[in-house]
C-alpha cells in the first residue's frame, strides 16, 4: 500500500518540466519519423475545396490574409494551399491583409507557391493572374471602400495603381468577387462577413486558428460561411484534398498532424492517469481514516 501511495504521490506532484519534455518528445519523434496517420476531410473543408474547384477558370478569388507570424504554423499552410489550388484552376487571385504584420507572410507564400508550381508549367503573373494589395489600415472602412469602389484603395503592395492592373479590369467592387476566403487569427472574419459578404452578397469561406474556430461555426450553420478550415487540422485536410486531386504533394500542415495526434494522445493519457491517481489517493486516505 505504501508503495502505491508513493507512486501516486510522485505522479500527482510530477515536475512540470518532465511534462514539457514528454510533449517535446511527442512532437519531435513523429516529425523525425512520420507515422502517416490518416486524416479524413470534413464537410466544411470539402465545401471550400469544391467551391474553388467548381468555379469556372478565370473567376476572381479574394484571399484575406489577416494574421501575423504568431499564427503562421496554422494559417500559412492554408494560404499556400489556397493559392496553389487557385492558380492550378487558372483563377485570378486578389490578396489583401488587414493586419499590420501580414504582408511579409503573403510575399513569402507567393514566392513559395510560384516556385513549387513552376515544374507543373503554372506560372502566375503579377497584376494579371494575381494582385497583392498589401496591408490596408482601417478594418471595416477598408471593406466598405472595397464594396463601393475597389480603386479607392489606390495602389497594390508594389505601388502600382489598381486601375492600371489587368486583373482589376472587371473587378471594381466586392460585388465582382466570385469567392472569398478569409484566413484570420482574430475577429476580422466577423468584419468580412458583416461588412463584406452580407452587405455585397457574395460567397465566403473562412480559415481560422483553432482558438477561434468554435466561435465561427454558428456562421457555418447559418450558411453565412460556406466552409471552414479550422486550425492545423483544417489546413492538413485541405492539403490532402489538393494532393489527391493534383498530386502536388502535401505541405507542412499534414506533416505536423502526426505530432498533433501524439500530443493529444499524451494529454488524454495524462488526464486519465491523473484522475486515476486522484481516486486511488482519496481511497487510501479514506482507508487510513
Amino acid at each position: 500500500m505504501e508503495r502505491w501511495e508513493k507512486l501516486v504521490s510522485a505522479y500527482l506532484n510530477l515536475d512540470r518540466r518532465i511534462i514539457y519534455l514528454l510533449v517535446a518528445l511527442a512532437v519531435l519523434i513523429p516529425l523525425i519519423w512520420p507515422l502517416n496517420l490518416p486524416v479524413k476531410a470534413r464537410e466544411e473543408v470539402k465545401a471550400i475545396f469544391d467551391t474553388i474547384e467548381e468555379l469556372p477558370p478565370g473567376s476572381t478569388i479574394l484571399i484575406a490574409n489577416d494574421y501575423d507570424p504568431s499564427s503562421e504554423p496554422e494559417l500559412y499552410p492554408m494560404t499556400v494551399a489556397l493559392l496553389k489550388h487557385s492558380f492550378l484552376k487558372k483563377h485570378k487571385v486578389i490578396i489583401i491583409t488587414l493586419w499590420l504584420t501580414g504582408p511579409g507572410l503573403v510575399v513569402k507564400a507567393l514566392e513559395q507557391v510560384k516556385e513549387e508550381l513552376k515544374p507543373l508549367g503554372v506560372e502566375p503573373k503579377e497584376g494579371v493572374d494575381y494582385a497583392f494589395l498589401g496591408f490596408k489600415p482601417g478594418g471595416f472602412a477598408v471593406i466598405l471602400q472595397m464594396g463601393g469602389n475597389i480603386y479607392g484603395l489606390e495602389t497594390d503592395y508594389a505601388g502600382n495603381r489598381l486601375e492600371d492592373l489587368p486583373i482589376f479590369e472587371n473587378v471594381r467592387s466586392l460585388r465582382d468577387i466570385d469567392y472569398q476566403v478569409v484566413l484570420a487569427a482574430g475577429n476580422t472574419i466577423d468584419t468580412w462577413i458583416i461588412y463584406g459578404s452580407e452587405r455585397y452578397s457574395y460567397l465566403i469561406g473562412g480559415g481560422v486558428t483553432g482558438v477561434i474556430a468554435p466561435n465561427i461555426y454558428p456562421y457555418y450553420k447559418a450558411r453565412q460561411l460556406n466552409g471552414i478550415l479550422g486550425g492545423l487540422r483544417g489546413a492538413s485536410e485541405y492539403e490532402r484534398l489538393l494532393n489527391a486531386k493534383y498530386q502536388v504533394g502535401v505541405g507542412r500542415a499534414s506533416k505536423g498532424m502526426d505530432a498533433q495526434t501524439m500530443v493529444h494522445l499524451l494529454i488524454v493519457f495524462g488526464v486519465i492517469l491523473a484522475n486515476l491517481a486522484f481516486f486511488v489517493q482519496r481511497s487510501i486516505e479514506r482507508g487510513r481514516d
Partner: protein, 277 residues
Amino acid sequence: MNLTAVEVLGIWLAVGFTLAIFSFLYRDNPIYRVAEQVYVGVSAGYGLVVTIFDFLLPLFWEPLKNAFLTAIGSPEATSPGSFVVIIPFILGVFIVLRVFRNLTWLSRYSYAVLVGTAAGIVIPQVTDSILIPQVGNTINPLYPWSLNPEYANQGTFWQFIYSPGMDALVTLVGVFSVLMFFFFSVEHRGVVGGIARVGVYVLMITFGASFGYTVMARVSLLIGRMTYLLNPEKGGMVGAAVWQKPTIVLLVLFIVAMILFALSEKKRRPPAEAPAG
C-alpha cells in the same frame, strides 16, 4: 542551397531566439529575458515603420502633397490629392494631445467623431448581418422530422442523428437552457433549476470544445517552431556544414550557458544557516 550572409545570420538569429524563449520552460534566465525584450522592441519598431510607410505616407502625406501641388498648378502632382485628409489628421493629433493635462478636452471631439461614426455604421449593419440571420437560424421547425439523405449509406440511426430536426432540437434545448441559467429573476429551484442545470452542462460542453481547439492551436505553434528547428532552411540539417546546423550548435551553447548560470547563482546564494541547537 546558396544563401547570402544576411540570410544565414537571419536563420541563426531565428533559431537562437526560439531556443532562448523555450529556455524559460526550464526556468527564468537572462537569455530568455534578453530574447523577450528584443521581441517586444522589434515588434514595436516594425509596427512603427509599417505605420509610417503603409499608413501615414500613402494615406495622409501623398494626398496632401498632391492636393497642394495641384492647387499651385505644379506638373509634379501624380493625382488630384485631397485637403480633406487634414481633418482626420487633426482629430488624430487631438488624441495625442491627451498627454498634456490642460489639452485633454480636445480628444473628446475625436472620440465623439469615432464613436458616432462607428455606431452609425455598426449598429444597423450588425443587426442586419448577424443578429437577424443568427436568430433566424436558431428558430427552426421541428416538424416534419425528415432523415438526412446525406447519411443514407451509414444507416437509419445516423440519418436520424444528423437530421435537421435533431439539429433544431439540440439548438432549442441548448439555447433555452442556457438562457434560463442566465435568467436570475426566478429562483433556480424545481423545474427552472433543472433546466438551468442542463444549461450549465451545455456551457461546459461548449467551453470544453473551445478548450480542445485551443490546445490544438497551441500545440500547432509548438509543432511550427519544432519543424523550423529541425530544418531551419531547406536541407540544412542533413549532410550540411556546421554553419548550416544552428539548432545543434546553439542548443549545446544554451545548455552550457544554463549550467554556468545555475552555478554562478549557486555561488551568489548565501550559505544556509546551521540548524539551531
